[in-house]
């Protein structure tokens, strides 16, 4: 297996708002792609700034010209003044990085806007408010960026930081409850709980750290959870061999210890093992504390390494429920947290045809499919899925070449 997940790459935005809320980097379509890795290449940000900055500057110049020479001067002189103004400011700020340049312009227009919102003219006032609103978004972006940075702290430091955050959030709720009444405290608590639930129970959520959901290259990635299984694993391996397919088996540490020969056979047949916790605590992983989370993940990692000879690179939480403390542990162990784009719900359903459709209809290259071992229909489901994938040519693994440029950031 040589598949790589689609990593969360820098979206090449400059302003804090677009860096955090500007979405992921979209690669152009083509036979081969080389994506530049310098800043200031976020398309929506570029469009927004290219409209907003000249518009606010135009309002500023229009206002100034009106004050100097009245409406005629303002009307006729606006375009030449804007042309000159844009160049004077550009040259005036000198050679700066994109970030430095943005903040220089933001400051100048911000100072003017702070003055303009008390002005008489509605145009001037509106332009001032628009720019101040945009700067307000940057503050929100900065907060988001601070959160993202905090969520990137790995190991014990990350666990301590997250514990402190969890305690801090509760203390704030207690303070609000005490100062402003129970309803405000409850409202705040419900909001925080909603965010926490979203980060924990939504398998693709990136609120608490990076989450891979797709892989690079052509074809889909088959992932099989909950093995090794005394009854199913050998049959799974036969089926996969028959179709020349490779898969990632997210295995449970306890079962690896119980059936070490099966774990070794998975690897020997060219498949890959992933970490799926030591005991598969599907009902309680979401609320596990930092110590238990660390134990579940690192014990499984050790079990796989000792039995199969190499450490996994991918981790998947039971039922996809990570908890607030998962990411510092996985980062410390060099594990990438992986979810899926398609799931069969094969642990709760038995209609193979329906599940096959759910997994294989309208698939795209890079989709990650989730199936399980040890269910009454698991072998039958795998056979059907492999047939469909073979027919649609999605078992191939031709890597599309994607390169990053090495040009330095401005």
């Amino acid at each position: 297996m040589s598949r790589e997940t689609v990593k969360e790459r820098d979206n090449r935005a400059v302003t804090p708002w677009f860096r955090v809320c500007g979405g992921r980097l979209k690669e152009p379509a083509g036979d081969a792609v080389r994506v530049a890795e310098v800043a200031a290449l976020h398309r929506v940000e570029w469009v927004v700034l290219a409209i907003l900055v000249p518009a606010v500057l135009a309002a500023m110049l229009f206002d100034g010209l009106w004050r100097i020479g009245g409406p005629w001067l303002a009307g006729l002189g606006l375009l030449p003044a804007l042309f000159v103004g844009l160049q004077v400011l550009s040259f005036g700020f000198g050679r700066r990085s994109p970030r430095g340049a943005f903040w220089c312009w933001a400051l100048v227009l911000g100072v003017w806007s702070a003055w303009a919102i008390d002005s008489d003219g509605w145009l001037t006032r509106s332009a001032g408010w628009v720019w101040l609103g945009f700067l307000g978004l940057q503050v929100v972006g900065l907060l988001g960026w601070a959160w993202k940075s905090a969520m990137a702290v790995a190991g014990t430091a990350g666990l301590v930081l997250r514990t402190a955050l969890a305690v801090g959030v509760h203390l704030v709720m207690a303070w609000i409850w005490w100062r402003h009444g129970w309803y405000w405290g409850l409202l705040y608590g419900a909001g925080v709980a909603g965010l926490w639930a979203s980060g924990t129970f939504r398998p693709e959520s990136r609120l608490f750290g990076p989450m891979a959901t797709r892989v690079r290259g052509r074809g889909v990635l088959l992932t099989i959870d909950d093995g090794p299984d005394a009854e199913d694993t050998r049959e799974f391996l036969e089926q996969l061999d028959r179709f020349g397919a490779k898969a990632v088996f997210f295995v449970i540490g306890e079962k690896v210890r119980e059936f070490p020969e099966l774990a070794r056979e998975i690897v020997a047949r060219g498949h890959e093992l992933g970490n799926h916790t030591m005991t598969h605590p599907q009902a309680s992983m979401w609320c596990a504390g930092p110590m238990r989370t660390r134990r579940e993940i690192s014990d499984c990692q050790r079990a796989i390494e000792e039995v199969a000879g190499s450490a996994p690179r991918w981790f998947r939480a039971p039922v996809g429920h990570r908890n607030f403390f998962t990411h510092p542990v996985t980062s410390e162990l060099g594990l990438e947290v992986v979810a899926w784009t398609r799931r069969a719900f094969d642990t709760v359903e038995t209609d193979v045809e329906k599940m096959t459709s759910r997994l294989t209809d309208d698939l795209e290259d890079g989709d990650v499919l989730l199936m399980h071992q040890g269910t009454p229909v698991s072998v039958e489901l795998l056979a059907k899925v492999l047939e469909r994938l073979k027919a649609s040519g999605l078992l191939e693994d031709d890597q599309v070449v994607v390169e990053g440029s090495a040009a330095p950031q401005g």
């Binding site: 036979d31 080389r34 570029w46 290219a50 900055v53 042309f83 040259f91 050679r95 040009a407």
Partner: protein
């Protein structure tokens, strides 16, 4: 007095459309101008150049009118402005890469042909048009190609600007040793040099769509009375060297985004002896026209190339 006039003319030339001063100003400007003021400044500067560069504007008008006879005068004017705008945008992108104040995304289309070209041990000719920017693509060619590409380019009209370009190219060649430039100078030795390179199994890229300076031209009817003027040299080179000819075009897909389109090698018909034009001329012209027609705003040729004979239709 004569010297004074020469100096005055020199200054005029330096500040003109082909002069070095606008380029120096632009390079300095791009080092300080943030990316988000680019579209507005580009639109304004393009409008100014569009007004100043009368000869070039008329050539683009003429080409568009011949290509699209059904277009109104207003549409042709707007189309010509778009050609200027696209040229300016590509030029700015190239300078951004040059001054390390920006970079562009690349997509390759026709990877099979691209790889055939890069893996062929024989000399190959890349037929291209004046679209996109080869200099900007140099790092891409260096990293993906594995073969040295010799790109033929016309020298700048202004000696100062030529000096700037040569300095840039030296730096580019130092960074990307697999990308070399050859100038089409007046000494007439370029053809011999290119034939030698092709004979040695090298890759040579030539623009097959610009008749500039004193190069020998050929004119071909590409259908419905549309006459296309092309330089004779590249086709003669292909005939003499018997090298495979790969049409390869660089297209601007959008802001800081480019596409390299590579097609299968041209199948040139056998040469006919006697008077009359080589039957391959039409194949040659159609290979260029196939890309130029749908991507006309990106076709940065500011010389008359097309004319439509009387009685010709759309």
């Amino acid at each position: 007095m004569a010297l004074e006039e020469q100096q005055k003319a020199g200054w005029k030339q330096r500040f003109g459309v082909y002069g070095d001063v606008p380029t120096r100003f632009l390079m300095r400007g791009l080092e300080s101008a943030p990316w988000f003021v680019e579209p507005v400044l580009l639109a304004m500067w393009t409008a100014i150049i569009f007004v100043i560069a009368g000869e070039q504007r008329r050539a683009v008008f003429g080409n568009l009118r011949a290509l699209f006879p059904g277009w109104s005068r207003l549409r042709v004017s707007f189309g010509a402005y778009r050609v200027f705008w696209n040229f300016a945008a590509t030029y700015v992108d190239a300078l951004r890469c040059e001054t390390k104040t920006g970079d562009v995304d690349w997509v390759i289309e026709g990877l099979d042909s691209f790889e055939k070209l890069s893996s062929s041990g024989k000399g190959c000719l890349i037929l291209t048009a004046h679209m996109g920017n080869y200099d900007m693509a140099a790092p891409l060619f260096s990293s993906r190609f594995g073969r040295t590409v010799y790109a033929v380019r016309a020298p700048e009209r202004d000696p100062e600007l030529q000096r700037i370009r040569e300095a840039e190219l030296r730096e580019k060649e130092r960074q990307n040793p697999q990308f070399r430039s050859l100038y089409n100078m007046d000494d007439g030795m370029l053809g011999v040099e290119l034939a030698r390179l092709l004979g040695e199994g090298k890759v040579v890229a030539v623009q097959g769509d610009r008749v500039i300076f004193e190069v020998s031209a050929m004119e071909v009817d590409v259908g419905d009375g549309l006459m296309m003027k092309l330089p004779r040299g590249p086709l003669v080179l292909a005939r003499i060297s018997k090298a495979e000819v790969f049409p390869l075009f660089i297209l601007r897909d959008g802001w800081r985004r480019y596409r390299v389109q590579v097609f299968s090698p041209l199948e040139l018909p056998p040469r006919k002896r006697g008077p009359g034009e080589d039957p391959a001329v039409k194949v040659w012209a159609e290979a260029i026209l196939k890309v130029v027609r749908p991507h006309w705003p990106q076709w940065s040729v500011f010389e008359p190339v097309f004319r439509r004979e009387k009685g010709g239709t759309q």
